[in-house]
């Protein structure tokens, strides 16, 4: 039997490392494409200022990239060390995307990052631009694979459980990659990275404008970042809606928790703008409701409904009862894999197998589970509502706020007056943490919302962990948090230092020259400009 403290500590450790890691990832995902946009202007127009701009932001990208890679590595090891049962259970499915992610990250992304950084004087402008695009594609495609793996945990398609090997086996790779969840999740996350990069570039550029430094660099970077940002934020909102829509089908418990929907309501359902959900009493306090909106948001119609916690708990209890024979048949099959009675029993009940595992937490021999134990396990099938409710709203609110920010910024920059809007510029600097916060909130929604499962409906979290001692877990958790905090401090220090220093090869106010692309890259120094 698993020690629940160890399971909780394993969760905490994964959550801590993932949340730290995801402070670095979005900037990498988005910055690469912003660099591509900046360098495209350099190659097309030949204006040296754009090379300066690309190189300056490229330096900040590199600081972030180097530290981000380091924080990501440990997470892959954690699957094996802390989640060994999970790893063996879904290794068949999880292994392939994870391996491709590693290959993409190390061969495509890292190789081309090297060329991008050191290739300015060795490659022709067009070649260097191609490398920059490959870095952008590589970093986003390596994210694709880990998100495909995560999508499988949210909506396990393309695989089946083999009762003889006691593991999940992949039967449709295309279904895995092209599942609606994987698609929407990848695009939402990748574009969340674009938003992050856009806010970062806009914020730093605003700081330069406030200080009246590197104005040519700052005005251009600001212009490009708000255009990049306004489109990306529109995209992230669209895909957020798509994720909610997909989630309503695949993970109704997550949706009910996100919306604080304790009781199933008839259509058109109102949306809880604000509420203080209580898990014990299964009710919301201080609700502020907007009529009709929930039906429109989650079913895209006025007549659609989704089940509330009351109905979902009932359904879970039924499925637990259905899953108990499936779990007990596994015991028989492990004694005799050819037992036809056991196989028949398994086949009849296999769709509820995961729910049978849920009650195993309370009754080791599931066939003896009492009604109270089943009711408790059914209650467990609902994630923590208050955390979900507020994390979701923080993400959405920040998303809408950033959209408004970008639209205003766009108006100012198109009028070419942004450099005089000091209050707005100050605000832009303060906006820098917003997308990072939104991303962290997004992951809380995605992962806490999946509880109590590691693989939704199939493998409960409490069964997935390794059987370490509490001491070991506490020690390694403290170690990770300490090391990662050092990483963050180093990142902030290096970033702030690089920003204060400004562009390397000049002051970012280069004369706007043109037409020097015919010269070898090595001779196109700023001095010539």
């Amino acid at each position: 039997m698993h020690d629940i403290t160890v399971v909780d500590l394993s969760r905490l450790q994964f959550a801590a490392t993932a949340l730290y890691h995801f402070l670095f990832v979005p900037l990498t995902l988005g910055m690469t494409f912003m660099l591509a946009a900046m360098e495209t202007v350099y190659v097309v127009t030949g204006k040296v200022i754009y090379r300066q701009i690309t190189q300056f932001w490229g330096k900040l990208f590199l600081i972030n990239f180097a530290l981000g890679v380091a924080t990501g590595l440990t997470m892959e090891f954690q699957f094996g060390t802390n989640w060994s049962f999970y790893s063996s259970f879904v290794g068949d499915i999880f292994g392939a995307p994870l391996a491709i992610e590693g290959l993409m990250a190390f061969f495509l992304e890292s190789t081309f990052v090297g060329l991008m950084v050191f290739g300015w004087h060795r490659l022709k402008p067009g070649q260097h631009l191609a490398v920059t695009y490959l870095v952008a594609l590589g970093s986003n495609l390596s994210a694709l694979w880990i998100l495909v793996a995560n999508a499988f945990m949210q909506d396990p398609v393309g695989a089946h459980f083999n009762p003889t090997t006691m593991r999940m086996e992949l039967n449709d790779f295309a279904a895995l990659i092209f599942s609606s969840d994987a698609q929407a999740k990848f695009v939402h996350t990748s574009i969340a990275g674009y938003v992050t990069a856009a806010i970062f570039v806009a914020g730093v550029s605003a700081w330069y404008m406030l200080k009246n430094r590197h104005m040519e660099l700052a005005r251009r970077s600001f212009r490009m970042s708000v255009l990049f940002g306004v489109l990306s934020t529109a995209g992230v909102i669209t895909l957020g809606d798509a994720l909610g829509f997909v989630g309503a089908e695949a993970q109704p418990t997550k949706l009910a928790a996100m919306e604080g929907l304790w009781k199933t309501e008839s259509a058109p359902m109102p949306f809880n703008l604000m509420a203080f959900p209580s898990q014990e009493n299964q009710t919301n306090y201080g609700e502020v409701k907007v009529p009709y909106v929930l039906s429109i948001l989650v079913t895209h119609s006025l007549t659609g409904t989704v089940p509330g916690v009351d109905v979902l708990e009932q359904r879970a209890a039924e499925r637990i009862r259905g899953g108990i024979p499936a779990v007990s048949s596994l015991k028989m099959l492990s004694a005799d894999p050819n037992d036809p009675v056991a196989m028949n029993q398994f086949n009849t009940h296999q769709k509820d197998l995961g729910y049978g595992f849920l009650v195993k937490r309370y009754a080791d021999d599931v066939t003896t589970a009492t009604d109270e134990q089943i009711a408790q396990a059914a209650k467990d099938s609902i994630p923590h509502v208050a955390t979900m409710f507020w994390s979701f709203r923080v993400m959405v609110l920040l998303g809408l706020g950033m959209l408004a920010f970008f639209v205003l910024g766009l108006i100012y920059t198109l009028r070419n007056t942004v450099q005089y809007k000091r209050t707005f510029l100050k605000f832009a600097v303060w906006m820098i943490p917003a997308p990072f916060l939104a991303c962290e909130a997004g992951w809380l929604v995605a992962e806490i919302g999946r509880q109590p499962w590691t693989v939704y409906g199939l493998l409960p979290t409490w069964m997935s962990a390794s059987t370490h001692s509490v001491g070991y877990m506490v020690f390694s958790l403290i170690g990770f948090v300490a090391v990662y905090t050092v990483f963050i401090v180093i990142e902030m220090y290096l970033m702030v230092r690089a920003i204060r220093k400004g562009p390397d090869d000049g002051n970012g106010d280069a004369e706007l020259d043109r037409g020097d692309l015919s010269l070898p890259a090595s001779r196109k120094t700023l001095a010539e400009a």
């Binding site: 591509a36 127009t45 695009v187 070419n416």
Partner: protein
């Protein structure tokens, strides 16, 4: 010859785009939307930068004209 090579490259890109659209469109269109959307976002941001230069150049030219007019 140059025109022919360019024509071939563009036809190849167009062909690839269509094939991709057909394959991905069948399976749900978000990956495809990402590809198209990312290209669009990058290019519009790039054009935005170039537009700022054009605005600056025009403002400088206008200022010069005004100065010349005074003299």
């Amino acid at each position: 010859m140059k025109t022919f090579i360019q024509f071939s490259i563009f036809m190849l890109i167009a062909g690839l785009a269509i094939v991709l659209a057909i394959i991905l469109g069948d399976c749900g269109a978000w990956y495809f939307a990402w590809l198209v959307g990312t290209v669009m976002i990058v290019l519009i941001a790039a054009v935005g930068g170039a537009l700022l230069d054009a605005q600056d150049e025009r403002a400088a030219a206008l200022a010069l004209e005004r100065k010349d007019g005074k003299h």
